[in-house]
């Protein structure tokens, strides 16, 4: 069930009441949340429940055994087996078709005709990339000794499947989430107004900004880039940058707010990414739970930046290409990842340059804005391929930028407003939001509830009927 629906509102209110009602009986509380999470998943696609359960049980079994194994050899074997099984599952469901068809096409290009007896085609389970990464985090964190509590089956299953993050993250760390499951949630830690504010803002980002930009600007431009002027295409690309940010960060806001209302803390996933002054800075602000996952479980095990410049750049490139492929089995995602890998490598060379002139420029106050604009436009270049249906399609979009720049009659104030909110809204300082929340918090809680309800009513009235799925559900 999608977050911006009455189905989810009713499901969540019931979950809230029962979960808090069972707070004094921790086992029953967690068992209920696990059952609710499986029901939430089954509402998407019950056929893949056994897969979710299987991935969770493998991760738990390995983590349980790791906490009891003393020999380094045995521990290494356990971890390797668990990771191969988990990532192998992901590979079968997500990449097998891509791998086989790519091989067939490479052979065909070389003049070798080969037809596999059967293509390994499977429907993509919702959220598989996320719950497999949760399983890997559990095994890796236990192997590294970062999980300080004994891993229990119920905790492991709930960590992997907890419904607010199940289908599109944020990706939780076992080391930070399992301790939260070891004791009953404390109502004293409830930040109710922050939680509800996150839910309402998330809904507004998704329903008002992302959906509006998608239907009025982005989809029409990307559907027929060659039929539009250069300026229209540029605005279409900016529109997609705003759309994907509002879509994904809106989803994350609702997820974080929902978890917070149940007494659990999720990590932040976005931090004003389009204000980044470099690509490295961007990846500290965009989909933080994925970029830090890739850093800790892929880039650092590959050797990180410990093996000299060439090795570091290669590790960056491999990490980003695999990060691109994580989003989907398509060459467009490979290109997106490779672009970011190359960009990060260039930035590393640039920021580590021994040239005093370059370092003076980087330190100059006036460099900040050009650096932000450069970073944003490089990110937009990546988004073109991320959104494109094929390499040729992405190149068409870029080629259309060279069309004569004319403004059509379609450029309405509403569209510009949505674009401005989508791109610049994130630049509002946290202190402003904090001050607004402080004002809200001084109101009686019943009045706060009325205020949030009126905000939701406004979103419903202004938003389109029906809700488009979140972009990240397809990953």
């Amino acid at each position: 069930m999608l977050f911006p629906t009455a189905d989810y509102a009713l499901f969540f209110l019931a979950a809230f009441a029962v979960a808090w009602g069972l707070r004094s009986r921790l086992g029953a509380h967690k068992l209920f949340l696990l059952g609710a999470s499986y029901a939430f998943y089954a509402h998407w696609d019950w056929r893949f429940l056994p897969l979710l359960l299987g991935v969770s049980l493998v991760a738990f079994g390995v983590a349980w055994a790791l906490q009891r194994a003393a020999s380094p050899g045995a521990r290494k074997a356990l971890l390797s087996t668990g990771i191969v099984v988990s990532l192998g599952t992901l590979a079968v469901f997500k990449y097998a078709t891509f791998a086989v068809t790519s091989l067939v096409n490479v052979l065909a290009a070389a003049g070798v005709s080969w037809t596999p007896s059967r293509l390994p085609e499977y429907a993509l389970p919702v959220g598989v990339s996320f719950f497999v990464f949760h399983g890997v985090s559990l095994m890796m964190d236990v192997h590294r000794g970062k999980v300080t509590v004994p891993v229990r089956a119920l905790d492991a299953l709930l960590y992997v499947a907890f419904f607010p993050q199940l289908v599109a993250g944020p990706i939780l760390r076992a080391s930070s989430f399992l301790p939260q499951l070891a004791r009953p949630p404390e109502p004293v830690h409830l930040e109710v107004s922050r939680a509800v504010e996150l839910v309402v803002l998330g809904l507004a980002k998704k329903v008002l900004v992302a959906n509006y930009l998608a239907t009025r600007l982005v989809d029409p431009i990307f559907e027929a880039p060659l039929g539009h002027s250069g300026l229209e295409v540029l605005l279409g690309i900016y529109g997609y940058a705003a759309q994907i940010y509002c879509d994904f960060s809106g989803y994350t806001d609702v997820a974080i707010g929902s978890a917070l209302l149940l007494g659990y803390r999720f990590p932040e996933n976005f931090d004003a990414p389009y204000t980044a002054t470099s690509l490295q800075d961007f990846w500290r602000r965009w989909h933080i739970s994925l970029s830090s996952w890739l850093r800790d479980y892929l880039f650092i095990p590959l050797g990180g930046s410990r093996g000299g410049r060439a090795r570091t750049l290669a590790n960056l490139a491999v990490t980003m290409v695999l990060g691109g492929l994580w989003h989907g089995a398509a060459w467009t995602f490979v290109i997106w990842g490779a672009l970011h890998g190359a960009g990060l490598a260039v930035h590393r060379l640039w920021s580590g340059s021994a040239s005093p002139a370059i370092q003076r420029l980087r330190a100059a106050p006036g460099w900040r804005l050009p650096a932000q604009l450069l970073t944003f436009h490089f990110v937009c270049l990546g988004w073109v391929f991320f959104r494109a249906t094929s390499l040729a399609h992405g190149l068409d979009v870029l080629a259309a930028l060279a069309h004569p720049w004319s403004v059509g009659t379609w450029l309405t104030p509403a569209l510009l407003l949505a674009l401005a909110v989508g791109l610049l809204g994130q630049a509002v300082p946290g202190t402003v939001r904090g001050a607004a929340r402080a004002v809200l918090e001084r109101l009686p809680v019943a009045v706060q509830g009325v205020a949030f309800a009126l905000a939701v009513l406004v979103i419903e009235v202004l938003g389109p009927s029906g809700v488009a799925p979140f972009i990240y559900f397809q990953f």
Binding site: T101, G227, T412, P413
Partner: protein, 357 residues
């Protein structure tokens, strides 16, 4: 426990309010009650959009009396006023002028610019008993559900070289002809016919239609004789309305689907489409299973392309068209469009589509 009953603003600490569980419950209850009181219409709309079945029966039984009570008490007025204000605001900002599809139409137009016909005048025309204005000889209307989402840009690109074609695309996911209570396609198509006066219309419906429906108080099960009769009548009515506006119609069949049970349901709908197309002069039915299916017309995720390469023709979900699949279907559509718009130039070419009447 003392830590569960803190002061709302503890002295000396940060000015962050501390909530108790009771506060959280009270906030959520006031939140829910406010929406229950002021959004009875929204709740009713949600309930009517649910799949027909016992769950919907239960919710409607709760929501319908509540909506009537709320309306009688004037509680639905604020929402209506907000909707009116939103419409005025939207109009002022150029962002809303009626249905979304009518709004989106300006975007999906390629080729020559739209004929200068005001929307108001068009609505007046359509309501008047006088004959409809002649079709715009350049306009092609593409309508459908999510299958049209990938098909429409492929058709748009396919006909882009023909500068005389103006494509107007209107698609909406998760809609169809079986649930006019959820989305009123006949009314939307009627507006497009009146405003754009298309010479040709291409339809791709049915992907969401294999569901039970409620009709005159009874639930009709998908595939039952009564369901078939009702659905066929709706398809025929839409075809007839398009023909009455002067447009010729290409009705696309549903592609083969990976889930076997779903595919069987789609084949059932295809049989209804084909039968109804045969009954209405000027409507051409084209099956797509032979275009994006394997040699036997069954589901294929990939097909061999030029140079022996495997190209993906269907989306991962086994339901929607992938880009190449959409291009294959679009080539058929383009051939039909060109044959209709430029019959002389196309006379020497082979007939593009089977079952063409």
């Amino acid at each position: 426990m003392s830590h569960e009953q803190p002061q709302p603003f503890p002295p000396g600490g940060p000015r962050r309010r501390v909530y108790r569980l009771r506060d959280a419950a009270l906030l959520l209850v006031s939140f829910g009650l406010t929406l229950l009181l002021l959004d009875a219409e929204g709740l009713h709309s949600w309930a009517t959009r649910m799949d027909v079945g016992p769950a919907q029966d239960l919710w409607l039984a709760l929501v319908e009396p509540w909506r009537e009570t709320a309306a009688a008490a004037g509680l639905t007025e604020p929402r209506r006023m907000a909707l009116d204000a939103a419409d005025r605001l939207g109009a002022a900002l150029g962002g809303a002028q009626g249905t979304e599809e009518l709004l989106a139409r300006g975007w999906n137009v390629v080729g020559s610019p739209p004929a200068p016909l005001g929307a108001a005048a068009a609505r007046e025309d359509s309501a008047a008993p006088t004959p409809p204005p002649p079709p715009d000889q350049t306009a092609v209307l593409l309508v459908g559900d999510s299958l049209m989402v990938t098909l429409a840009p492929a058709v748009t690109r396919a006909v882009a070289d023909d500068g005389s074609v103006r494509v107007v695309a209107a698609h909406r996911s998760a809609t169809g002809l079986s649930r006019p209570d959820v989305y009123d396609w006949p009314a939307v198509v009627g507006s497009f016919l009146a405003i754009d006066r298309p010479r040709l219309v291409v339809c791709a419906f049915g992907g969401n239609d294999a569901q039970d429906v409620r009709h005159e108080g009874k639930v009709l099960a998908f595939g039952s004789a009564a369901w078939d009769a009702l659905y066929a009548a709706r398809v025929r009515a839409m075809m007839t309305a398009m023909r009455a506006s002067g447009a010729e119609v290409l009705w696309l069949g549903l592609p083969p689907m990976r889930p076997a049970r779903f595919d069987a349901r789609m084949r059932h709908l295809d049989a209804l489409f084909e039968a109804e197309a045969a009954r209405v002069e000027g409507v051409t039915y084209v099956p797509t299973s032979t275009v994006v299916g394997d040699a036997s017309g069954r589901f294929a995720g990939f097909l061999r392309g030029p140079g022996g390469k495997l190209v993906r023709v269907r989306h991962d979900d086994g339901i929607h068209y992938a880009e190449h699949g959409a291009q294959l279907v679009a080539a058929r559509v383009e051939a039909w469009i060109e044959a209709k718009l430029h019959p002389v130039a196309q006379a020497g070419k082979a007939a593009p589509a089977p079952h063409d009447r």
